[in-house]
Amino acid sequence: MVTYFSEIISGLWSLVLGLSVTFVEFIRPNVTVQYPYEKLEMPERFRGHIQLIGDEEGRPNCIVCMMCQRACPSGCISLSGKKEEGQKKKTLNSYILDFTTCSLCGSCVESCNFNALEYSKEYNLASTRKEDFIIDLLKRLEEQNS
């Protein structure tokens, strides 16, 4: 009989304690960020999809050594370049990132010895069309420069 009532009392007390916790939370300020209206700064090391790094004149640092293409586990990088006359290095013709299969592992960035690749801060990645994720990085670099 004593346990019966003590259980009721302690049970009720535990409920009151729970209510007090939520009440304290009720008067605490919001912690959420109202996303489309306010946006957070992405941290420095944020790994978005990759992008090319250009030099001062806006030309890509890439010398088409194909290391990134070889390092990629999912085969989502395809690039081509040709050696133009009079120049020592190859120049980049096209750099296509197939973001549909990319898993953002960063192997390409790590394998690059020429400081030609970096992560972008892009996180608004949603689209209804698959083609939007076949990204031409060279064009992107040009757009950034202009």
Partner: protein
């Protein structure tokens, strides 16, 4: 409230829980034969998001594979990566700088807390309480923010490299970890006040789904499932790896064998992980994070190798059969939840459906990790 049932063959019906059911947290399907609200037998059907990681492991080279490990378990990714890098380092004989190991331990423990917090929230939500999830997510977001600053990613960190780390941590990270520890302790108190002591919660979990030691052994259960059944088993202690022998921490073990015991084990583990992080931050040595001569191409010698680690979900084992080339000959991933989930079929017989789903919640399931 398990009740033995005398069966009448045509009084039962089949209830198909999943693959899209709110309680299964993913695409898991349980075919339950029901007698009213009592479960007569259950058959778990998995494999809906099977991705054949093991075959990928055979096709890809060693460095190409490490990001797959963090895709296995999206909540406690670092633990799995840790197992992988430890195995390859052991097999290929790569020395790891001490600082890297410490940072690995700290981040793994942070990730373990994040995983346990998410489990806590989801578990209480399975039981119908919604707000604890939001509080747990607040604390988890804090951890994710810290880890994102360091690793660049919130869930699928590919942070560890063979021989060390991808990036060093900075002072700001250490500061935020130091700030995090008292905050988490305060939150834990709040959780215990809000959830653990709650009479409704206690009544639901105490005595629910008793798992005997013997059952755990026959199925190879680990993590809180085993420790809630009175088995003092934690790979960090039983089979020390990395820098865990340096730390002073306890393995919480409860002998009640019920869902409440499993819950308590995980909540206590958060506290223990905090202790490890505290010590890790205090003992953190200076030095490089990658060995001086880290091999570019990894070719472990012929033979087979095994490494077990304690992830947030339990005893994760990874076996490598190497033939001396740059691709593994065979890579076996032994996922802890696979064994824990397997228990479910046998144990939930005779339970009410709501108890069975509470039990399922207490197993801490991450479906991609079961399906691999």
């Amino acid at each position: 409230m398990s009740v033995p049932i005398r069966l009448q063959p045509d009084e039962t019906f089949i209830l198909n829980v999943g693959p899209q059911h709110p309680a299964t947290h993913g695409v898991l399907r349980v075919k339950m034969e029901m007698d009213g609200e009592y479960i007569v037998s259950a058959e778990t059907v998995i494999g809906y998001i099977h991705r054949m990681h093991e075959k990928m492991g055979e096709i890809k080279t060693y460095p190409q594979f490490y990001m797959n490990l963090s895709r296995m378990d999206y909540l406690g990714a670092l633990g799995y990566s840790h197992g992988h890098v430890l195995l390859i380092e052991k097999a290929a004989g790569i020395e790891v700088p001490e600082r890297a190991e410490y940072i690995r331990a700290i981040t793994v423990e942070l990730n373990r807390i994040a995983s346990h917090l998410f489990w806590f929230g989801a578990f209480v939500m399975d039981l119908g309480g919604f707000s604890p999830l939001m509080y747990a997510l607040q604390d988890r977001e804090y951890i994710l923010d810290m880890l994102e600053r360091i690793t660049g990613s919130r869930l699928t960190y590919s942070y560890y490299r063979f021989g060390g780390l991808y990036n060093d941590i900075d002072d700001q990270f250490i500061e935020s970890v130091k700030k995090f520890i008292p905050r988490m302790r305060k939150s834990l108190k709040k959780y215990h006040k809000l959830v653990t002591g709650n009479i409704i919660f206690r009544k639901r979990l105490e005595g629910n789904a008793i798992l005997s030691k013997e059952t755990c052994r026959k199925y190879g259960a680990s993590s809180a499932v085993a420790r809630g059944s009175g088995i003092n088993y934690d790979v960090r202690r039983n089979e020390p790896y990395s820098v865990y022998p340096e730390f002073n921490f306890d393995i919480p073990v409860y002998h009640e064998c019920d869902s409440m015991a499993r819950y308590k084990v995980r909540m206590d583990e958060i506290e223990q992980s905090l202790r490890i992080i505290e010590q890790g931050i205090a003992k953190l040595p200076d030095g490089p994070i990658m060995p001086k001569k880290a091999p570019k191409i990894i070719k472990p010698p012929k033979g087979d190798y095994y490494q077990a680690v304690e992830t947030a979900r339990g005893n994760f084992g990874i076996r490598l059969v190497s033939d001396g080339t740059k691709n593994p000959y065979r890579l076996k991933l032994r996922s802890p939840t696979y064994s824990n989930m397997h228990l479910f079929d046998e144990t939930c017989t005779g339970l009410l459906i709501m108890d069975a789903l509470a039990f399922m919640g207490s197993l801490d399931l991450v479906i991609p990790e079961i399906d691999r």
